[in-house]
């Protein structure tokens, strides 16, 4: 650790960090466009200029490393003037079409303009215009809005190594072009460039003109797509907030960074998975008993009676949160029921795969950690009572077969799932499970990170956590989690301690 001063206050920071990173850790945000924690340093936007005592010129915070005794000013007159200058330059050729720009509301140019400039343009010349076009099935490019930070180019060069975009020409004629639309179509990470772009130059076709971001609620969650457990933002449209009468639904999923996990991007499959959750048609809308909808009280009553047997089984799910699984586990434990885990569904990795995991479930690791036997190990399959937790997604097909036969042969079988599947269709009772954004939940990813996913929407269609159906006395998701951590991890953990970046086991 070395000591530096920022705006006359002394801080201890790690050696080797850049000024921008060191300041970020302390909580001082230095405006920037081209800096991205996962990409090489370009130093081209000049937005991050700060004053360093003893230096004749302002320095770029993104590329200058801290040194012992360094005195940095991030808000001096010189710095403010420099930022203003850069913003004015960037805006020279910018269309300022915020009213029709999808980035509006989360655009760094808009934000910084209001925060650091807010001056009228002194530019009175025609602006250079390029064609706005769809550069792939998923993505459009509006070069006129581009600030030439080259983040997108660096992402495709350095991370996916697929080089679909590049800058062409030079000077004020420089702009971004796509040389390989097909490549973008096939690139499993292509859509990240819409998150990476600090302005509205790169966007998703399907989000174009779809929603103003201020009409949505942005909640940090964990992707359910695979064992990578990527941090995501789930933008939900909220009936209460909305005038257009839309239903509660997920509008989009985009990247939330997790520096501790080293995760700065998400895959396209995860990103577009939100459509699965918006499937209203197949949603289980009430408890169903022998084909008939029943109310919650009735469901609880029936469950209580049917579970009052000697030989029961609970099959947990790698597709559900720790909380849902552990509550069901406790229910089984109390009754001396068997507990099993299905194997995760696996899929071949795409090219490039980067951090994508073969296991297509967010919580496989939890069940493994608990050393639960696999469903393939079920010997005696004629149970009096069987409960299976299922979710959006799939489990391994061999497990599927096994589980189906358990359900079919049990005297009374219950499936807890949000969308009606073959499992529910073959059970005596179906319980409406919440989808992941309807509750708080934790997941353990393939790298042994326990991470917390936030509730974004209210429980819909009579969905409730499993413990309520099972008549268990938990007041919140967190209560289940605390008990799990204590009993299974031997740790004193709660949501606050997990923080936003999770906890590595």
């Amino acid at each position: 650790m070395i000591s530096i001063k920022i705006n006359d206050r002394e801080y201890q920071v790690e050696e080797g960090k850049t000024i921008l990173e060191a300041a970020k850790e302390i909580g001082i945000e230095i405006p920037h466009y081209c800096y991205h924690p996962a990409l090489s340093i370009a130093g081209n936007c000049r937005m991050c200029l700060v004053e360093v005592k003893g230096m004749p010129k302002p320095m770029t915070a993104c590329s200058t490393r801290v040194s012992d005794g360094m005195e940095i000013y991030t808000d001096s007159e010189l710095v403010k003037e420099a930022r203003k200058g850069v913003l004015e330059f960037i805006l020279l050729d910018h269309p300022v079409d915020c009213p029709i720009c999808d980035k509006s509301g989360e655009c760094k140019l808009q934000d910084y303009y209001f925060e650091h400039s807010a001056q009228k343009s002194r530019y009175e010349f025609p602006k250079e215009r390029h064609k706005v076009e769809k550069i792939s099935k998923k993505i459009y490019l509006n070069p006129n809005r581009c600030v030439l930070c080259t983040r997108c180019v660096r992402f495709l060069r350095e991370i996916t190594k697929t080089n679909e975009l590049t800058t062409v020409e030079r000077g004020s004629h420089s702009h971004i072009v796509c040389v390989d639309p097909e490549g973008l179509d096939n690139n499993p990470f292509a859509s990240n460039i819409s998150d990476i772009c600090p302005v509205g130059a790169l966007g998703l076709n399907e989000f174009r003109f779809k929603k103003r971001v201020w009409f949505t609620k942005k909640v940090k969650a964990i992707c359910q797509g695979c064992a990578a457990g990527c941090n995501i933002y789930v933008d939900v449209s909220n009936r209460k907030q909305l005038l257009d009468g839309d239903d509660d639904e997920i509008v989009r999923i985009h990247t939330a960074e997790n520096g501790k996990l080293g995760q700065y991007f998400i895959c396209d499959e995860g990103r577009y998975s939100y459509k699965l959750y918006n499937d209203k048609e197949n949603r289980v809308k009430a408890p169903v008993l022998d084909g008939e909808e029943v109310d919650f009280e009735k469901a609880v009553e029936v469950l209580k009676e049917k579970a009052n047997v000697r030989k029961g089984v609970v099959i947990l799910s790698p597709l559900h949160s720790i909380e849902e699984n552990y509550a069901a586990y406790l229910f089984a434990r109390e009754r001396g029921f068997d507990v099993f885990r299905p194997s995760s569904f696996r899929k071949d990795l795409p090219e490039p795969a980067l951090f994508i995991e073969e296991k297509k479930s967010p919580n496989d690791r939890m069940l493994k950690l608990m050393k639960l036997p696999k469903v393939s190990e079920i010997e005696e399959i004629d149970y009096d009572f069987a409960l299976f937790l299922h979710n959006v997604g799939k489990v391994h097909s061999k497990s599927e077969v096994r589980i189906l036969s358990v359900l079919k042969r049990a005297t009374f079988s219950v499936v807890f799932e949000p969308m009606l599947t073959d499992f529910g269709k073959n059970a005596n009772m179906v319980l409406p499970a919440p989808i992941f954004v309807e509750e708080n939940g934790c997941y353990i990813n393939g790298k042994n990170f326990v991470q917390h996913s936030n509730k974004a929407l209210d429980y819909m269609y009579g969905a409730k956590p499993i413990w309520e159906f099972l008549g268990m006395d938990f007041k919140s998701e967190e209560e289940v989690f605390i008990q799990f951590a204590k009993e299974q991890l031997d740790k004193d953990l709660n949501y606050q301690k997990l923080g936003t970046e999770g906890f590595e086991l």
């Binding site: 302002p58 003037e81 200058g85 010349f125």
Partner: protein, 425 residues
């Protein structure tokens, strides 16, 4: 006649042939160098006060001493991009006395422990590159290049790399990127080329004229070099004079030769006996000077003292018939055209400057334009990745300040105050 270090063609017009060059004592510096320790060569160059002729005047020996010691590939690169408007000196070293550059490259390579050298020549100079390549071939034949040079055990290969039209490739890290096959966008510094240069290896970049000084420094010793020119600004300098003079051309003279002598004696004075209006002393990026500066010794420190710079030593002379607004609009266009486009202030600022100047030149200037120009200059200066942004400012700003009246006249009267001018646009 003053001392000749570089332009040996004045002694023998055929010196570009290796035999002739050897007859004039060529490659003796190399022989001597190879008998010395590399460090001793670096020290000798340090003692000679040789300063970079590419623009910045950085002490060459000191630059060489930044190269790390030890194993691993290192490179010695010659900057023959010669793109600074008004500059046309390196070209004549390469076409008339190429062996002196080649000899300097081998000595420099030996001194900094580089076994490969590249000469980066601007693409337009293909005809010069051909002459140079012939000389390189000769040098290989004679064993001055290649393996085990003169039985010293030292290997050095020398290649020519042609640019393709981009002034920014004269900036050393832009040059390195271009040599690596990329766009010539300059790199962030640090790391400096001596740590992380060409192909990621320690690299030294020097100008043609700088390198061509080295053989004679080694052969005749640093004391001899120190005897030419003023203190800390030693040696000869090739002044390239262009513009409104009777006898434009290149003149090798002792560093510190007064501007007046160069313009009025060597370059034959101003065409038609006209008055001097403005003179750029060191390539277009050097702040403009006026008649009151004629007695300035043309060396690094003296020009720095009057707020300009020796730069490449290119002197552009403008007579009273020059419209400064037009001339500087043209130069602003050059910087806008040559900005690599990487960093915001230069990419946008240079283009904006040009547009405003052009509108003034076109008689459509607005009242606040001059202050706007000066304000934009302030927002570029010192805020860019490489010095091109600064160069544009050092070109435009002093001219606008010095000739403010002329700009104001243009704005107010929508026309030029200079009669008989030769139109630029």
């Amino acid at each position: 006649m003053s001392e000749i270090v570089l332009f040996k063609q004045l002694l023998d017009p055929e010196v570009r042939n290796i035999e002739n060059y050897i007859k004039l004592g060529g490659y003796e510096g190399l022989k001597k160098a190879l008998s010395m320790q590399p460090d001793d060569i670096v020290n000798e160059v340090k003692r000679s006060n040789l300063r970079g002729r590419g623009g910045a005047g950085f002490p060459t020996g000191l630059k060489w001493s930044f190269m790390p010691k030890g194993e691993g590939q290192k490179y010695f690169v010659c900057n023959a991009d010669e793109g600074e408007p008004g500059t046309f000196k390196d070209r004549y070293i390469m076409s008339e006395n190429p062996h002196q550059l080649i000899e300097g490259m081998v000595i420099g390579g030996y001194a900094i422990d580089a076994t490969v050298g590249y000469i980066y020549i601007r693409g337009e100079f293909e005809f010069v590159a051909k002459i140079l390549q012939k000389a390189i071939d000769e040098a290989y034949e004679k064993g001055f290049l290649g393996k085990n040079i003169l039985n010293s055990g030292f290997d050095f290969d020398l290649y020519i790399h042609l640019g393709a039209g981009a002034y920014i490739c004269g900036e050393e890290t832009g040059l390195i990127n271009s040599l690596e096959g990329k766009t010539g966008q300059p790199r962030l510094k640090p790391p400096f080329p001596a740590q992380y240069g060409l192909f990621g290896k320690p690299t030294t970049v020097n100008n043609v004229e700088t390198i061509a000084c080295v053989p004679d420094i080694i052969k005749k010793g640093s004391d001899w070099f120190l005897s030419i020119g003023p203190d800390k600004n030693n040696g000869t300098k090739i002044y390239a004079v262009s513009g409104h003079v009777n006898n434009p051309g290149v003149f090798e003279l002792p560093m510190g030769t007064p501007l007046r002598e160069i313009i009025y004696e060597h370059a034959g004075g101003i065409i038609g006996g006209k008055k001097l209006k403005a003179v750029i002393p060191g390539g277009s990026s050097a702040p403009v000077l006026g008649p009151e500066h004629l007695d300035i010794p043309m060396d690094f420190d003296s020009l720095k003292n009057v707020g300009s710079m020796l730069g490449s030593g290119a002197i552009i002379v403008m007579s009273e018939d020059t419209c400064i607004v037009e001339a500087y609009t043209r130069l602003a266009k050059f910087y806008a055209h040559e900005s690599c486009g990487q960093c915001t202030p230069c990419r946008e600022g240079t283009a904006w400057l040009y547009k405003i100047l052009k509108r003034i030149e076109d008689g459509e200037g607005k009242k606040g334009d001059i202050d706007l120009i000066l304000d934009i200059c302030g927002k570029i200066m010192g805020r860019t990745i490489c010095p091109l942004g600064d160069a544009a400012v050092m070109c435009v700003k002093p001219a606008v300040e010095r000739f403010r009246e002329e700009f104001e006249y243009h704005i107010e009267h929508k026309k030029c105050m200079v009669e008989n001018k030769i139109p630029i646009f």
